[in-house]
Amino acid sequence: MIDPDTVTLPSVEVFSPDIEKYTFGNKVNTITEAELINFQGWPFSDFLQKRTGLFLRQYGSGMLSSLTMRGTSAGHNAVFWNGLPINSPSLGQSDFSIIPVGGFDQASVHFGSGGALYGTDAIGGAVHLTNKLKFGEGHQVRIGSLFGSFGIWNQQLEYGFSNQQFSARTRVYRNFSENDFPFLNITKFGTPMERQDHAKVIQQGGIEDLAWKINSKNLISSSIWWNGTEREIQPIMGSNTKDFQTDTNLRWVLDYFHFSKNKVWNLKSGLVRDDQVFNTSRNQTIQYFLAADMDWEIGRNWNSKTGIRYTYIVGNLSTFRAQESRIELYQSTNFQPNEKLSFSFNLRQMVFDRKIAPFTPSLGGEWQVWENQSSQILFKSNLARSFKVPTLNDRFWVPGGNQDLKSEKSWSGEMSLVYSFKKDNFDLNQRMTYYRMKVDNWIIWLPKGNIWNPQNIREVQNSGVEYSLELSQKIRNWNLALTTNYAWTQAINQTDISENDRSKGNQLPFTPEQKFQSLFSIGKGVFSTFLNFQRVGERFTGTDGSGRLEPYQLWDLGSNCNWSFKKLSGNIGFQINNLFNTDYQVMPLRAMPGRNYQFNLNIRI
């Protein structure tokens, strides 16, 4: 497949800190703009569900989608936008269904504990969304449209200008879905085929990216993103609820970089404001950030990064108001004694609400076990501690909030073997990872009388295997590629909450033990075709293994054509999702669309 982002002008990417720099021993996957281009305007959750080994709990089509990584809960992964943590401090998680593809250029997924690198929440992993601005590209216009079944109509317009000193880009988008797909209502007498009602989604937003290279030693960059989503909340099957939710997110980041001989200084400030209106209930959180760090190349073998981040949080929630300051110090060190051996050592300490969060160290390493002209075997390992401070809701919600809650904390270890082979036009990359994790002080909300109350009650031991395969072969003019991801996840509850509880020894609810995903593509010249498959194993709705949800498997088929005409270029694509019209539920009684079609067109000037 030809990269549609290929540009003819020489360009230089605007500097941004390398997310993977201090992650030796960890698993980090990068999702490029080329992979995202045919999902223009779709919820990012749909992309992750379809194209990765990750599992998201989707409460309907276009509805709340929370990520679960390595068997941890929805709040156990940190999400960053251009280096700012954007998880809601009141909910402690991000809704991936309101993060549209097109709102960022690239995503990186860090698997496993990253508390020392990223701070609170990164127990199961972290997701980084970044904008990749470039210098020296001149004027650029891009128009992206996607039309699909059930009233999907996504549009994005982008204009950018950059020379060698200045770069600016403006993006606006509007995504719409009527979401009136037919489904079998299994909760009604006679199981009638009905059309989904009350599930419309309207999303619009705008992004402005700016970068100014003051001189060779100084750079300022800034991004601002406003994103508004109005949703009719898809009712659970058999229910007549008519809930509405509006989410408005404002994110702004300002970076100043100073480059000296062997140091990069970064001063970062930012703002993340989330407003949510559920029916008439209003919740608002604002996070202000101020951070500074210095990345220092001490010698040929040593790199160090030292930093401090201050966060001030204001919460105006429907039942309470709260303010909180957080300050965290962090230190990252890379040591590479020789070409075959690399280590990362990270430390972080946070203080929040005058309480000391768990101290989080991590140590990771990579060893090139074997190498010849075409092959390489890498051994990677990492040991990390992570934490999650209780959310504002956990502590202050009225009624039920518990101010005595402790931070959730975890220890995790992992080992990976990476095998790479490259010969002529054949590329092969395989990775097998085994991990173990123990999460303690896990917070769950339990009913006490009529009031639900959070408690540090659960201990969970997670373990699993992740396998990934990337294979590409060029035969004459044909390009063949296969990517496969498999995750075997065991998240075993170690505690019973009462004498009569039967949770101990069971898999956590809504956590599939198995997920498999594979994408095969074949292309010639400007044409390419793909077939994507995903299978999600059984899940349970109860902590004691009760309430089984059926496994499901979905196939998607699509074609793409890259084109150019005079000064215009772009791609045109057609896709059939859920090819075999499988009736499935990701979460219980949440209807999902059957076979559906989409057509997308991207134009670059």
Partner: protein
């Protein structure tokens, strides 16, 4: 064909002979339905998962049959069950997700339902071949229910709603007495009276406490209500819906969860509230106006209670935090634990058959 002329007389002869030998005064010994005996256990289900279900327990064999609605109808119930009412040869499963499913009690085969037009259904009574369903109505912006109603359905097998009778806020339990349907309206702290003949609201009577349920105790009609420190048994004259007498019994932290025991004995679930939430079952005597035992049983997360007349056993249901399946504890008349059952999510009620 050759032998068929002999076959027909033979069939007639067989039928005649069998009809002569059958003693028509004895009842025909038909096999019993699978769920005609034993205990039906109503499991409300967990919020957001809506996995309400009915389990069947056979005390004779100790066998529990799980998810009998799903098993017999090949689909989930798909709702949060608030009440389970047996009437007119049918079993009505009332869900607060706005529907009623109707099954044949002996085998749980589905015969109909009400699925359109309901909002937050709570309970049901049948009278004159009609169904009357209490419904909180939709929530307003402050999570109140000012537009509560009783939905009328003109068919015992369900179907469309013929009429909605506006009633006071949050109607719960109902009872048919005389020419009226009595409705306990918890938020309004009233009981409403509906004329069966005209299907209109005849009266709305304020009472002390928060009413939740009507009881027939020794032939008399009572409305059960609570406040923080008392339970109230308002005796109502079914002829003219006046409150004849109120028996106020001091009892701390009573809940709406009750079961009628022997005579005028009522089991009341109590909960100490924040922060300990220790639950208990108290035994009160309506005739004496006294608490006879404030902690007949002590538990956690008690969500339902039932009294089995045969054997005088008390069934106490605990929800186990709605994280997984709940438990039912069978107690002897003296409160001694006889047996523990693992049941569905949020067990909340029983029908003893």
């Amino acid at each position: 064909m050759k032998n068929s002329r002999f076959l027909l007389p033979l069939v007639w002869l067989t039928i005649f002979a069998s009809s002569c030998t059958t003693n028509t005064t004895d009842p025909v010994d038909l096999p019993k339905g699978e769920f005609e005996d034993g205990v039906l256990i109503m499991n409300e289900g967990a919020f957001g998962v809506n996995d309400g279900e009915v389990f069947h327990y056979d005390p004779a064999t100790g066998v529990i049959k799980e998810n009998i609605f799903r098993t017999k109808n090949s689909r989930p119930f798909g709702g949060l069950i608030q009440d389970m009412v047996e009437a007119e040869g049918r079993l009505y499963l009332v869900a607060n997700t706005g529907k009623v499913e109707i099954v044949i009690p002996k085998d749980f085969s589905l015969v109909g339902g009400v699925s359109l037009g309901l909002d937050n259904s709570r309970s049901l009574v049948s009278v004159n071949q009609r169904l009357f369903i209490s419904d909180w109505g939709p929530y307003d912006g402050d999570f109140n229910n000012p537009d509560s109603y009783i939905a009328v359905v003109n068919d015992l097998n369900g179907g469309p709603i013929a009429k909605k009778i506006p009633v006071s806020s949050r109607p719960e339990g109902m009872i048919v007495a005389g020419n009226f349907i009595y409705v306990a309206c918890s938020a309004a702290k009233k009981f409403d009276v509906i004329s069966i003949a005209s299907e209109t609201l005849a009266a709305s009577v304020a009472v002390e406490g928060t009413p939740s349920e009507f009881l027939q105790i020794e032939g008399r009609l009572f409305l059960y209500a609570t406040d923080e420190n008392n339970v109230f048994f308002h005796e109502v004259n079914p002829g003219n819906y006046t409150v004849v007498k109120t028996t106020k019994i001091p009892l701390t932290n009573p809940t709406p969860i009750i079961a009628l025991g022997e005579g005028s004995e009522v089991f009341v679930v109590t909960s100490t509230g924040w922060p300990d939430y220790d639950d208990a079952v108290a035994k009160v005597s309506v005739n004496n106006g006294q608490v006879t035992n404030p902690s007949f049983y002590v538990g956690n997360g008690i969500y339902g209670i039932g009294f089995k007349i045969e054997g005088k056993e008390i069934y106490v249901a605990e929800h186990n935090g709605f994280q997984g399946n709940g438990s039912v504890f069978i107690l002897s008349p003296l409160g001694i634990l006889v047996k523990t059952l693992t049941v569905g999510k949020g067990p909340s009620g029983f029908i003893f058959k």
